[in-house]
């Protein structure tokens, strides 16, 4: 075969070009004798990777490059290539004379050169790559470890706008939602956690966003989802969900709020109680000093009143007797039939009757004063509240009859230790007030009950005209009256207050105009009065 000079030159140039490429290649390239596996040729990179000079490599069976434990495998590879014409293997090692090792991927193929078969082998150094991979794997494991340690549930899902799939979920999340696989609420929460409002937000915020929602599951568990989502350059949507079980936290918050509210209302109650006690104390002091004054006044009034009452009675008796005589047949006719005398008789009769009424009213006022000053003490006794109420109702019946409906709601009450006539006086005063508060027709409701603190409660409610708050404030003040002069003494409710306080009890009034008034009396079963 003749080869022209030009052709030869071209071939030489081509050979030169490939040689250069082989010499400059980043992979080790060997030519191997197919009969005995000895290295025939090697490029500089091969010298570098094997740590051997070319003259040491030439003639070296190719499996001798591997450490002892891989020699069998290396021979297999060689035999395999000889038999099949090609073969490749990954992650084998070269051992260098200095005992250092590198990892290589090997590709072998049988080629023919002018009737000679040789094996060409290309070995790529993947040591750095493997090290990187190992490092990356370690890092991955480390992060997974860290994420699993986190006290919140973490979940990552992708393709959230198409078919969501779970990329990652940490242990906490699994504990939270996979403890009971039959639970429809808990399973795959992250797949259906698509709140419409969240979608809206995503649209508003664009590519990336974050939102939080609270979800309550039917077992009472409350979870807070902090969701952040983002779009990767490849148009895939990812969503990272951070889930906290806030059931206990919320419960604690609620408990705290409740106990705080309770505390506040207790402080309020105490303050109100204190204020009430203060005013009750002031009231009691006022009453005490007034009581002494009133006692003196009552006594001073009673003496002249006694004289007046007696004299008026006497005067009436004799005046009547006198006129009886003047108008009798014993008297001379001109006197007997004198019209002036008759007129005089009628007028004077009227006047003494008025005197008697006036005196009786003074007596009633002084009696109230005396009662107020606690002068009229009777014996302390065991007292049936309901009997007392009924006897009092008998006395005030003429004021109620036909006009006011009486509703009794009596509970079971024990007898109480008290001064019965005083308590009756209290009932009387309140009932009279109630009946006067009702203009035409109305209702008075009397309710009694016994509470767990061993106290008896008697409540009088009327649906009468009620009172303005500024009137309510003053109703227990002695001398305060809304009734016209001559009707009330202004002492009725002061006496009531005094008696109830003396019995270690309390009296409260609630009233509003047009709605009516309620008096609530609380009495202990046993008191130290």
């Amino acid at each position: 075969m003749d080869i022209s000079q030009t052709e030869l030159t071209r071939l030489r140039q081509s050979e030169e070009k490939y040689r250069r490429m082989i010499e400059m290649a980043n992979d080790a390239i060997f030519s191997i004798d197919v009969d005995n596996g000895q290295i025939l040729e090697a490029n500089p990179r091969a010298e570098e990777l094997t740590g051997r000079a070319l003259e040491k490599l030439i003639g070296l069976p190719v499996w001798e490059l591997h450490p002892a434990e891989e020699i069998g495998r290396a021979k297999n590879l060689f035999n395999n290539v000889v038999a099949t014409g090609q073969g490749s293997v990954r992650d084998m090692e070269f051992i260098r004379p200095d005992k250092s090792r590198i990892i290589v991927n090997i590709n072998s193929a049988m080629v023919e050169f002018g009737g000679h078969r040789i094996i060409q082998r290309i070995c790529r150094d993947v040591t750095a790559k493997r090290a990187l991979e190992a490092e990356s794997k370690t890092m991955h494991q480390f992060f997974e470890y860290v994420l699993n340690l986190m006290p919140v549930g973490l979940g990552l899902k992708k393709d959230i706008n198409a078919t969501p799939t779970i990329v990652f979920e940490n242990r906490k999340l699994q504990e939270m939602f996979h403890s009971d696989d039959d639970d429809p609420d808990h399973n795959h929460w992250y797949l259906d956690c698509k709140e419409s409002e969240c979608v809206d937000k995503r649209e508003i915020l664009g590519v990336n966003g974050i939102y939080g929602i609270e979800k309550k599951f039917h077992d009472g568990k409350l979870f807070l989802f902090n969701v952040s989502y983002y779009k990767m350059p490849d148009e895939t949507w990812y969503e990272l969900q951070m889930v906290q079980d806030i059931t206990d936290q919320r419960k604690m918050e609620n408990d705290l709020r409740r106990s705080n509210e309770e505390l506040e209302s207790r402080v309020e109650d105490r303050t109100r109680e204190l204020r009430q006690k203060q005013s009750a104390l002031a009231q009691a002091e006022k009453m005490a000093s007034l009581g002494q004054l009133v006692a003196g006044v009552a006594h001073e009034i009673n003496t002249p009143l006694g004289a007046l009452k007696s004299n008026n009675d006497l005067f009436n008796r004799y005046f009547t007797r006198l006129f009886d005589r003047l108008l009798s047949d014993d008297c001379p006719e001109p006197i007997r039939n004198d019209p002036d005398l008759k007129k005089l008789y009628e007028n004077i009769s009227n006047l003494t009757a008025v005197n008697l009424t006036a005196l009786d009213r003074i007596v009633a006022i002084v009696n109230s004063l005396r009662l107020f000053a606690r002068l009229d003490r009777a014996e302390k006794d065991s007292f049936d509240i309901h009997k007392g109420l009924e006897s009092t109702l008998t006395l005030v019946n003429h004021q109620l009859k036909g006009r006011i409906e009486l509703i009794r709601e009596y509970g079971q009450l024990p007898s109480i230790s008290c001064f019965p006539n005083q308590i009756n006086q209290v009932f009387m005063n309140i009932l009279v007030n109630a009946s006067q508060a009702i203009d035409n027709k109305g209702t008075i409701r009397i309710k009694t009950w016994y509470d767990k603190n061993k106290r008896v409660i008697i409540e009088f409610s009327d649906d009468g005209q009620g009172m303005e708050p500024k009137v309510v404030e003053r109703i227990f003040d002695p001398g305060f009256t809304t009734k016209g002069s001559g009707i009330g003494t202004g002492l009725g409710l002061s006496i009531v207050h005094q008696i109830i306080t003396d019995h270690d009890g309390t009296i409260e009034v609630t009233s509003s105009p047009e709605q009516g008034t309620t008096f609530k009396i609380v009495l202990p079963v046993i008191n130290n009065h």
Partner: protein, 158 residues
Amino acid sequence: MEPGKNIIVIVDDEEMVLTSLSSFLNLETDYEVKSFTSANQALTYIADNEIDMVVSDYLMPEMDGMSFLAKVREIQPDVPRVILTGYADKENAIKAINDVGLFQYIEKPWDNEDILIIFRNGLEKKQLMRKLNEKIEQINKAYGELQGLQNDIIKTFV
């Protein structure tokens, strides 16, 4: 003093009470009323005259009603004693009735009809007491006579 007339002594430092009560009693009864504004003057009278009933105010400047009535009891123990009081203090009244041995107490302002009843009852009590005392005296006298007779009989036999 007409014989057989009941004598009532009334003591009150207030003239008007005395006038009212004595007028009423004079007109409505045949009692002889002796009224005093001074307890001491009343005591002087009582020391010298037998009376049938005494009424005293509770609170007086010179001597209080209770002390006065206690003194009356010393002089004439059988006379029913009545206190007239402006205080309707039943506790004190009951205490006084026990301490001084009151027949009754009257509250100011009083009721004339009540007064009449109290006086009638008081005088009846006085009368009964007197009759009782007379009977006791008669019995004592009879007992004395009986004892004298007994002595005579013993002497005769011994």
